[in-house]
């Protein structure tokens, strides 16, 4: 029998608000342990949680970016469980009345066709403290760091509609792109600001039954999620073939050994309405305000780039894929660079160079002004593309403009016909056999001759002119 997998994801996204969810402590979990704490997030007796307005706004923006229906009324519940990372015995979460329901994101499936994946709901919840287990000593010790306690999360819960690890990975990337666009969250699985648990079950292909699921945790990258799901599907199919029952439990992904191992029975504690945090009632006016402060999202942006800048679809998708990138691209265009030229140079030269230098658009010293200056010199024929690549490389180490660097390092393109004729003359007399080949009809050897001339000019010659001059001299 052929099996298919039923995959649902639960994704926790840490919002980047200035404060924690229910108190004024800084939302910086990475600081020295227990430095961003107060009686509220330590849950000392008598302290009361007060929901941060900024957190509510950022959570709402996140939901809007995922095409959700924001609920006019939502509320916090107490998810009751006892564990040292949660010293008040319950986590404030939204179990019964989430902030948003439904919603979808679009991915491309393995055949390249667009596919909409639906969300069940999105809710807010506070994070718990971080436990650090020191097992080295004679007596193992667990330390608790409360910097993370009470930091704001939204949890995205999907419908169980994904069928392959590929779907799941694309889904995660799509969620990440959409949410990053709003500027409300960093969404990095590597640094833990986005975390993903997967629920997986299998069934005979083509049926619509929902069988007992297994939850997997501890995947620290999009690829881990794909690998873990693929492993788990195989494991379950094998179990079913061996007539072993699938039981509801939680497994951990081991990225070193590439296996999942059983951790514990899946725990579902009670959830009761929290009596202290008031019900959140959102007015239409407020929601309208939120919608209007939402930035232009990637799909709108792609359409506009195609329409306004005559980019082809794939170029527009690439330029629109990240908010910072799209802003960089538009700034360069607004500074007078032809749009497709800008997109081409950004895609093929600038982004790979950034990656090579380990920089990002956020921290690089290459501003749109400097980059536009460079491309304009190419457009005008002041430098050729080889020199432009060299200037781009120099950009990483200095703050000079393209003009300055070109002058300083003598990158200006040689378009002076007299000078080029001299160089070409020398190349033709030095490479008699190539000239013979060309004359005998091997037109390709002109490439070799142009290369030699470029080399002789130390890369500065205008290659189009050189080719023309060679053709003229050999005609």
């Amino acid at each position: 029998m052929k099996h298919e997998a039923v995959i649902g994801l639960e994704i926790h996204i840490q919002l980047n608000s200035a404060t924690k969810m229910f108190c004024d402590c800084a939302n910086r979990p990475g600081n020295d342990p227990n430095t961003n704490i107060c009686p509220v997030c330590l849950w000392m007796p008598g302290a009361l949680p007060v929901l941060s307005r900024e957190v509510l706004e950022k959570a709402t923006m996140t939901c809007l970016a995922l095409n959700c229906d924001i609920q006019s009324e939502s509320a916090f519940d107490q998810k009751v469980y006892y564990y040292p990372d949660l010293p008040k015995g319950f986590q404030l979460s939204q179990a019964h009345k989430p902030l948003a329901r439904h919603g979808w994101v679009e991915i491309q499936d393995e055949e390249g066709n667009p596919k909409k994946l639906r969300l069940h709901h999105v809710h807010m919840e506070e994070d718990v403290a971080r436990l650090v287990h020191e097992t080295e000593g004679r007596v193992p010790i667990s330390l608790v760091d409360f910097n993370r306690a009470g930091t704001p999360l939204v949890e995205v819960v999907t419908e169980p509609e994904m069928r392959t690890p590929y779907d799941a990975m694309e889904f995660l990337k799509a969620i990440r792109n959409q949410v990053r666009y709003t500027g409300c969250a960093e969404c990095s699985m590597e640094s833990g600001t986005m975390r993903c648990d997967a629920n997986i079950s299998i069934r005979p292909a083509g049926t619509d039954q929902l069988n007992t699921k297994v939850e997997i945790k501890n995947m620290n990258s999009v690829h881990h999620v794909g690998d873990a799901i693929a492993y788990e599907i195989k494991r379950q199919i094998k179990s079913v073939k061996n007539n072993e029952p699938i039981v509801l439990h939680t497994r951990l992904w081991d990225p070193e050994k590439h296996v999942t191992t059983a951790m514990r029975a899946k725990f579902e504690g009670p959830c009761i309405p929290d009596p202290s945090v008031p019900t959140i009632a959102l007015t239409k006016t407020w929601l309208k305000e939120m919608k209007s402060s939402l930035p232009e999202m990637p799909d709108q942006k792609v359409k506009r780039f195609v329409k306004d800048y005559s980019l082809i679809h794939d170029e527009a998708v690439l330029m629109g894929s990240e908010r910072k990138l799209s802003e960089f691209f538009e700034s360069v265009v607004k500074l007078g660079v032809q749009a497709r030229m800008a997109a081409g140079w950004i895609a093929t030269q600038f982004l790979p160079a950034l990656k090579k230098h380990g920089e990002s658009l956020k921290d690089t010293r290459i501003t749109p002004e400097r980059f536009a200056g460079l491309i304009k010199m190419v457009e005008k024929g002041d430098i050729n593309s080889n020199s432009a690549k060299s200037v781009l490389e120099k950009f990483f180490n200095t703050d000079g403009t393209a003009e300055q660097i070109v002058e300083q390092f003598g990158f200006r393109q040689v378009s002076d016909t007299d000078e080029l004729e001299k160089i070409v003359g020398k190349i033709l007399s030095d490479n008699v056999s190539a000239v013979e080949n060309y004359k005998n009809g091997n037109k390709k050897s002109i490439g070799f001759l142009v290369g030699q001339a470029m080399k002789a000019s130390r890369g500065k010659a205008n290659p189009k002119l050189v080719q023309q001059i060679i053709k003229n001299q050999l005609a």
Partner: protein, 410 residues
Amino acid sequence: MESKIFNYLSISTQPGIKGPMTGTDVAVESNISVADWPTDAYSPALENYSALEDATLVQRLRNAGAALKGQTYMGEFGLGLNNDTCGEAIKRGLSHAVLKIDTTGEARMAAAISGCFGFKPSYGLISRFGLIGLVPSMESCGILSSSLETISKAVFSMAGGDDTDPSMNQSGIDRAVEEFQHQDKFHDRPLTVGVVKDCCKAMDLNESKGFEQAVARLGKAGIQVKQIDIKDFALARTVHNVIGTVEASSSAGRFDSVRYGHRTGASVKSWNDMYIKSRGESFGPLVKAYLFQGGYFQYRNYNAFLDACRVRARLMEDMEKALETMDMILLPVSENSGVTLKKPDTVSDFYDTFSLTLIANLTGNPSITIPGPVRKNNAGPALQLIGKRFGDAGLLALAARIFDIHTGEI
């Protein structure tokens, strides 16, 4: 003598601030935070815990000139009246006012028994920041005093919005504060009082007779008495029981014995074992029973909790509707004459004591008990008034008139 009434006495009671409360001594119980005072809610679960800062309402009393006297004795987490000395402190003139968290009617009942006034303000009028209670949605800071004027001044001083308490109701607060400045308008206007049909059903014959006589006296004094029907009145006790225990079970989760409070001396195998043993040794039998019931509804019978929430919402609506056409509702304080300071053994005993006061905690209305001719440890002759939400000032003004009639001064 004082050491039998006070569990803790302040070293310096002089606040040095001139204000409406200057010259007024106020005592609290040890579940109301006063910075650096031992604040253990009379439970080993908070053993040796000192409050980090003042409760907002304590800060406001200080600013109004009140002198903080000390702490009177209380039962564990204020559950029941066992061990209480707040009423005695008033009766003996050792403090002008005592603050006591009122979750089921504790402050009002203690006052009724000892022959003074006991007031529970509207929910959302006075900040709960710094109160260590078990049932957040029902608790308010109650006040005992033999002077209605002192109660009025204290409530007015403590009332007001507070960014650290999300359950405050700003528009209600504005209305209430406004009314405190015009309390005299209640002095001689015609009054209508509602009496809940069937409220005497379960009462001792003696008690119900006493209540009927009290109602008759009001009628004779020219107050219009109307019968009202609050459909779910008889369910209030059960509703409070279900919601109260559920909230308590969650609230008590934070008493984990790690950062403060009693920690077991027994050898333990794991952190979970440590929690269980420490909590088992900390909580007394009544608190345990109360928390167990909450755990039952949380884990095993959530639907009962949902039903209770629905009935509570209906009770709130009915109460509000009834109070649209009258000034206040009149109720006995207790169903039976046997209410004393004795320790309740079971949750059911506990609710027996407060069956008629708890409705104001469920609905969030202000409520006051006014003493009758004093009988030892007996709430019987006292009356309970329930006012409109945020009509605290009016209720306190009217309580003075009802008191005069009730005690035969008019």
